[in-house]
């Protein structure tokens, strides 16, 4: 049961071979058994979850089921969900019960999916290892002494340990793809503007994008059919027709041109990861794809540019946490300014404060042009690299992360080392392109992800490309020991 695809689960529900309540209870029981070790979930509410499952069963009985009706889905703790504690991994929101629903949560409710619980994450989505969460680190189900990646590490570990069939994530610089790679699952960051950011706790608004995390590309397609769509409440949501993200599944890849950026296979890439990625590319060659060498000459600038733009936007977005309207307030203070300063010093963790300070600095008088404006200009150069590359290929492939899951504490001493985790993912956010990671094999005993980058709005094509590999291999169905 736990390794079944969303489509298979939906078929079992439709055939009344299992009820949504039974299915939900099975996953809740797995969470009860595995979560004390993995720490993937920060909040559970069995009563609320089972009420949704019962409602789904009634809907199925009436013959009104949609594709995800009755299927339990875990939600990253960044999406506001009415009546649910929504912490965003921070002490600042420890007691925050969301008074409204994020657009994506509404869409899952409308689809009849069951909200299984809230997944752990790096604080305010700032991190690549889940070590910055106020609610404790998440452990990687493949090796509990190692990180699951981040920031959507709770969602990734929950899917990897089969504590849920699928989960939501968000990706600002790699936060869906990198944990998907490190935990051996499939994850998609859609084109910027495809999924509404309404009700998503803002980190860097020009980069944040929600997306699905699941076992297979086919499951991602079904999740996207629920998550994607125009929402007037998000000013950067793109008005587009609804599309069926599963429409291309099964199409031939003959003649597909795969671009391999030479910068993605250069210094800094682990040799075991490189081998797995090359093996996956060889599979695509067998499926009829052609390989083209391309270049993304400005890729190495994506990290400096990101660490100006993302902290700048974060420092502005996180100014709202002032201890006045919601969230944490320091217990003792001398005056209003002291209340702000103590509230923020106590409510935010070290990495969040670091990024707020960097952002404040680069936006401060006298430095704006040298840092923020300069970064926005180089952002265009980075985006233009992709425009040029897509003249010669249909999709781009490479590693998702430079290595496999690393040990706790290995990269926490030096923030810059942690930032290099996102060397291959950040440029995709800066350009606003869709990016996906799918399991491609193992280096040692640890999973390795293959990154597939598509042109704007090419998600359906990318999902088929991922699906094609998953018809030839079973990496996405492998289970960690002990789950």
């Amino acid at each position: 049961m736990i390794n079944k695809s969303l489509k298979e689960l939906a078929a079992l529900l439709a055939a009344k071979q299992i009820s949504s309540v039974e299915l939900t209870r099975e996953f809740l029981a797995r969470i009860a058994r595995l979560n004390p070790t993995i720490n993937a979930f920060v909040t559970l509410d069995e009563e609320r979850t089972l009420a949704q499952a019962r409602a789904a069963d009634e809907r199925i009985a009436k013959g009104e089921a949609a594709p995800l009706t009755g299927i339990p889905i875990a939600q990253k703790d960044i999406f506001a969900a009415h009546g649910w504690r929504t912490t965003c991994g921070s002490r600042m929101l420890e007691n925050f019960i969301a008074p409204y629903d994020a657009h994506i949560v509404q869409e899952f409710d409308r689809a009849g999916a069951v909200n299984l619980g809230r997944t752990n994450m790096d604080e305010f989505a700032m991190g690549s290892s889940n070590e910055t969460s106020h609610y404790g680190k998440v452990r990687n189900p493949w090796d509990v002494e190692r990180v699951p990646g981040g920031s959507s590490g709770g969602s990734a570990a929950a899917v990897a340990a089969r504590m849920c069939p699928a989960a939501t994530g968000t990706d600002t610089g790699g936060s869906i793809r990198q944990p998907a790679s490190l935990c051996g699952l499939s994850g998609l960051k859609p084109t910027y503007g495809v999924c509404s950011r309404y009700g998503l706790v803002a980190f860097a608004s020009s980069l944040d994008q929600a997306g699905p995390m699941a076992k297979s590309a086919e499951d991602l397609a079904l999740m996207m059919n629920v998550m994607a769509g125009f929402d007037p409440r998000d000013s950067t949501s793109l008005p587009r027709e609804k599309e069926d993200y599963a429409r291309d599944l099964g199409k031939s890849l003959a003649g597909l041109r795969i671009g391999l950026p030479r910068e993605y296979f250069a210094e800094g890439l682990d040799s075991g990861v490189a081998q797995v990625v090359q093996n996956a590319i060889a599979e695509y060659r067998k499926l009829g794809a052609q390989i083209v060498e391309i270049s993304l000459p400005n890729n190495k600038l994506s990290i400096p540019v990101y660490y100006v733009l993302a902290p700048a936007e974060a420092s502005s977005n996180l100014a709202r946490f002032d201890g006045v309207r919601y969230g944490y307030r320091a217990p003792e203070y001398a005056d209003l300014n002291d209340m702000y300063c103590k509230t923020r010093a106590q409510g935010f963790g070290a990495e969040v404060k670091r990024r707020i300070m960097i952002g404040t600095y680069v936006l401060s008088a006298g430095y704006y042009d040298a840092y923020y404006l300069k970064a926005q200009k180089i952002r265009r150069l980075i985006a233009q690299d992709f425009v040029e590359a897509f003249k010669h290929c249909d999709v781009i492939m490479g590693p998702t992360a430079p290595g496999t899951a690393f040990k706790f504490g290995e990269k926490t001493a030096d923030p810059v080392q942690m930032y290099l985790e996102d060397l291959y993912t950040i440029a995709v956010n800066l350009a606003g392109l869709p990016g996906m990671s799918i399991p491609a094999g193992f280096a040692g005993n640890l999973p390795v992800g293959l990154q597939i980058i598509g042109n704007y709005f090419d998600e359906a094509k990318m999902l088929n490309i991922g699906h094609a590999l998953q018809q030839q291999t079973d990496w996405h169905l492998r289970l960690p020991e002990g789950v």
Partner: protein
């Protein structure tokens, strides 16, 4: 540009984050490392390049000037640290 301890304290003040001397020392070291990383940008020629904020270069949508929000004050204030009579309570700012 290299930072010093008083810069760090000034930045912390602008960001409204209280910082003690020991933490400021650590922040100085870490922020300097990050600024070193960022410095790589300065070698790039960006003359004539337009800054980019959205990949699709969209413009802000307009909508009809009608009321779309309902009054949810009581609901929204239910999560506030301190309220009284529909108002948010903060320390006195005017003597």
């Amino acid at each position: 540009m290299s930072l010093n301890l008083s810069d760090v304290k000034r930045i912390a003040h602008l960001a409204r984050v209280q910082i003690d001397d020991a933490d400021a020392e650590i922040a100085l070291r870490q922020l300097s490392g990050i600024l070193g990383l960022i410095e790589e940008m300065q070698s790039v020629n960006t003359d004539g390049i337009a800054p980019m904020s959205h990949s699709q270069d969209v413009t802000q949508r307009l909508r009809d000037d009608v009321v779309t929000e309902t009054d949810q004050r009581a609901l929204f204030q239910s999560v506030a640290p301190a309220v009284e009579g529909g108002l948010y309570l903060v320390p006195k700012v005017i003597e």
